[in-house]
Amino acid sequence: MPDLVWASATELAGELVAGNVTSVEVTQALIDRSRAVDDSIAAYLTPTFDRALVEAGAADERRARGDALSAFDGVPIAYKDVFVTRGVRSTSGSKILDNYLPPYDATVVARCSGAGMPMLGKLNMDEFAMGSSTENSGYGPSRNPWDLERVPGGSSGGSTALVAAGGAPWAWGTDTGGSVRQPASLCGLVGFKPTYGRTSRSGMIAFASSLDQAGPITRSVRDAAALFLVAAGGDPLDSTCLKEEVPNVLEGIDRGIEGMRIGVVREFREGSQPGVQTLFEESLTRLEKLGARIEEVSLPSFEHGISAYYLIAPAECSSNLARYDGVRYGARVDGDDIVQMTSRTRAQGFGPEVKRRVMLGTYALSAGYYDAYYGKAQKVRTLISRELEGVFGSVDLIVTPTSPSTAFKIGEKTQDPLEMYLNDIFTVPLNLSGTPAISIPCGLSADDGLPVGLQLAGPSLDEATVLRAAYAFEQDLGFSERAPL
């Protein structure tokens, strides 16, 4: 019988099937752990523990009757607060939605509920997913369980803090520029971003529509693959959601990487912290040892990823966030007329980073500037996709560090937005290309003893190869360190 708090979701599912434990016992253990750690890590915005226990009870009854909804019926889960949940407050980390009770469930949530997973609660994040540390949350930052003085990464930092602290076996995050992979890297977890459109965006509070992608945050590659399979696949509520059949990525996940060609991106080979750099080079050696052929590839346009991203994402967000005007739902600050009411509502409801990006995006889309900014950024985006496609003609995957640094101190980068943005330099290009990528732990940095992530990225729709390589690496490394909380 494994420790219920630290078991993987797949292990918990096995114990439930074997009848060694009930969902109520598992759920109660996770609730107890969550309660014990949340004062330290501040992961939850809205816990739903009572509801989780009711759902766990129902799961146990189904299992007793032999009517389990899925292999994971009764395995609890938690969600980044960007996913709307019917009747449960959903803020996207913003005060402007402080009182917002959605009338429907996000498709990702509906599919997990449909698989029988009790919902532990809604987790902290940078406001509207804009940030790399959760410091932009309207509700204060979450803390990294490896070092409470440090950020858990972002924007899905509440999710990674909770899973890394043993409060949940897995959680859903979203990745617009690295918001699943970077915090997973900083918390020693697996963070998986599938191909853009593999999961429905319906019910994901939009930040940058053409980039937003839901992704599993887990403690094992197998769990990431399994959770992906629960939610992926076409959705009539989202016309950009891919209709292609989702391959069973668990099948053959353990086939190894003998003969696989993996490209190291020349432009990203340097520039990370020394501890990160060392672990990265060691990881390349490990991949080679496992039978992969490491080749250097060049992706010159990747260097412009951050610049293009910080025009496209703000442009889309400036439009997506226009609906928060105090007229129909959410916060409202009264004024003498509609203009004053809307201005005051937005001035008080949005935090500084959101305002910065809304202004940046508004500017980038303005008449006379569109071609120079938004138009040019779209061209860079196309270039990045083409270069990457070209590279995938000669290699199966590319590999980079996930983040150039380990977790930084709370407050360290808040005064310098550009420095903060550069944290996503390795992850952002793969949002622009919409291709699948994963971050997996590759060790603890010699600099500070904090976790370091390795990013593996594959061609569009080829999640299977990405997960197979990640699994092989994970099994060989046997990373078993836990946050000292």
Binding site: V84, P102, G203, L237, D238, S239, S319, R323, D325, I338
Partner: protein
């Protein structure tokens, strides 16, 4: 006189922007019903209210309807077209952006002919409608209102925008264009096209220049024309205003002007300095529209007869004069009603046309409804005319019967029976009454006998009185003549 001189000196250029609400079962991007009016905020959902996380899913029928309009206007259907977001804050627009089309519309480069004149169609595109604001207090406009109420029932209704080239040369031509376009769209059965209810809205760009100049004059946009008649009135006023300004050497400014229905004038709404920057960009929540060729072909093949084709057929098949054709084909539904009645009748269609135009239209106008909404069925009108033909009732009685049909929707024969409106054609009964009338008016009868036919009308009147108006006056006349003159 002054008008003629002005016409000689100046020429008018008009381009129109017409919005047409599509009568689909559901809205453009969600499952809510499309309907006119109703209890506010009852046809809304999380999508058309712009709730966080919701996404638009396009209505295929709306795309099809737009292509119908495009094809009927001789447009090319774009193989690849995309939606854009048009960004601006307005409380009746739930997302504070409108999903519309910008530089990549669904239908392009068409035309519509009116009276032999070809008006180019620049584009036909698809977008979503906004909600409705009701501004309480003040003038009813937002600026001086105490508060505003929002009704989102209309938000998300599919809306087609049709933009013409500046090919229209007068207010009258603009009016004719809108009339023809309205009839065309009505015949496609894709919209109610009721300007009064806002399901068809017309904005015009008007400019006047001196004849012979190559540059267009200063462009003025005219809004708030709520009927076809208003289009004519507003543009006539605007034409006159601009010509007068040019006459007086005044500079016209580029602006948007509001037509005041009551006053029949236009007034400035905003000038160009307030031009909006809509920050259009491609809608990332939707995939491109790429209609398959066979879909487009199927739509093309299913297009009904155009109003122009129908007019030609009405003159040739039914032998109707141009004036009758004009009125009967102005609306597709009126035309269909007329043809059903003419078919049920089987005889001279002109008779049906006369009844429709002279009598039925009068009744319709009094109540203010359309022909197809009246209780009188086409076959019932045909039956009524047949009763008159057969001498069962007089033409005058038939008018009474028609009024009752209009009221109740009953068959004409039943009404004639109920009201005892049977025409007496039995010569025996009539002869008895004629004999009585002659006996009672010997002096008059003598005059007629002596060859003065004038007073025969008096005797006919007497007979009609005796028969309570039910005698067939033709037969009465015949009997009198036979008895007094042969």
């Amino acid at each position: 006189m002054t008008d003629t001189i002005a016409e000689d000196m100046y020429e008018t250029t008009v381009g129109l922007e017409i919005h047409v609400e599509l009568a689909t079962a559901s809205k453009m991007f969600c499952g809510c019903a499309v309907a006119f009016a109703g209890e506010p905020n009852t046809r809304v959902c999380s999508v058309c209210l712009g709730h966080p996380g919701t996404l638009p899913v396009p209505n295929e029928r709306a795309v099809e309807h737009t292509m119908k309009i495009g094809l009927a206007l001789n447009c090319e259907i774009a193989e690849h077209s995309i939606f854009h977001r048009k960004n601006y804050f307005y409380p009746d627009m739930p997302k504070n952006y409108q999903i519309s089309q910008y530089d990549s519309p669904l239908c392009v480069r068409g035309f519509l002919e009116i009276g032999g004149h070809r008006v180019g169609i620049t584009r036909v595109h698809l977008e979503e409608d906004t909600g409705k604001s009701i501004h309480a207090g003040g003038s009813g406009r937002i600026a001086d209102s105490d508060y505003s109420l929002e009704d989102f029932n209309r938000a998300g209704t599919p809306l087609v925008e049709i933009v013409t080239e500046p090919d229209i040369k007068s207010a009258e031509q603009a009016r004719a264009f809108v009339t023809e376009l309205r009839a065309l769209i009505e015949s496609l059965e894709v919209s109610d096209v009721r300007m009064e209810e806002g399901s068809m809205r017309v904005d015009a760009n008007v400019s006047v220049r001196r004849r012979g100049e190559t540059e267009h004059g200063t462009k003025v946009e005219v809004k708030n024309m709520n009927s076809i008649r208003s289009v004519g009135r507003a543009l006539e006023y605007e034409e006159r205003r601009q010509r007068a300004a040019l006459d007086a050497n005044e500079t016209l400014i580029q602006e948007t002007r509001h037509f005041d229905e009551k006053a029949g004038t236009t007034s400035s709404l905003r000038t160009k300095e307030y031009a909006f920057d809509y920050r259009y960009f491609p809608e990332p929540d939707l995939v491109p529209l790429e209609p398959a060729t066979d879909w487009v072909d199927r739509i093309r093949a299913s297009l009904p007869e155009t109003p122009a084709q129908r007019r030609a057929r009405f003159s040739s098949d039914h032998g109707l004069p141009e004036s009758d054709v004009e009125v009967l084909t102005a609306s597709y539904k009126t035309a269909g009603w007329f043809e059903d009645a003419a078919k049920a009748y089987g005889g001279d269609a002109k008779k049906i046309a006369n009844w429709v135009l002279a009598d039925l239209f009068g009744l319709l106008n009094e109540v203010g409804i359309e022909l197809q909404d009246s209780k009188v069925a086409p076959a019932q009108l045909a039956a009524l005319v047949k009763l008159v033909d057969g001498g069962d009732i007089s033409g005058k009685q038939a008018k009474t019967v028609l009024a009752a049909m209009f009221e109740t929707g009953k068959d004409p024969a039943a009404i004639a029976d109920e009201q005892g409106l049977k025409q007496v054609s039995d010569t025996g009964e009539i002869e008895a009454a004629v004999d009585e009338a002659i006996a009672e008016n010997p002096d008059v009868a003598d005059k007629v006998r002596r060859g003065n036919l004038g007073p025969i009308g008096f005797l006919v009147g007497q007979v009609m009185k005796k028969t309570k108006g039910q005698a067939n006056p033709g037969i009465v006349n015949d009997v009198l003549r036979r008895k007094l003159t042969s």
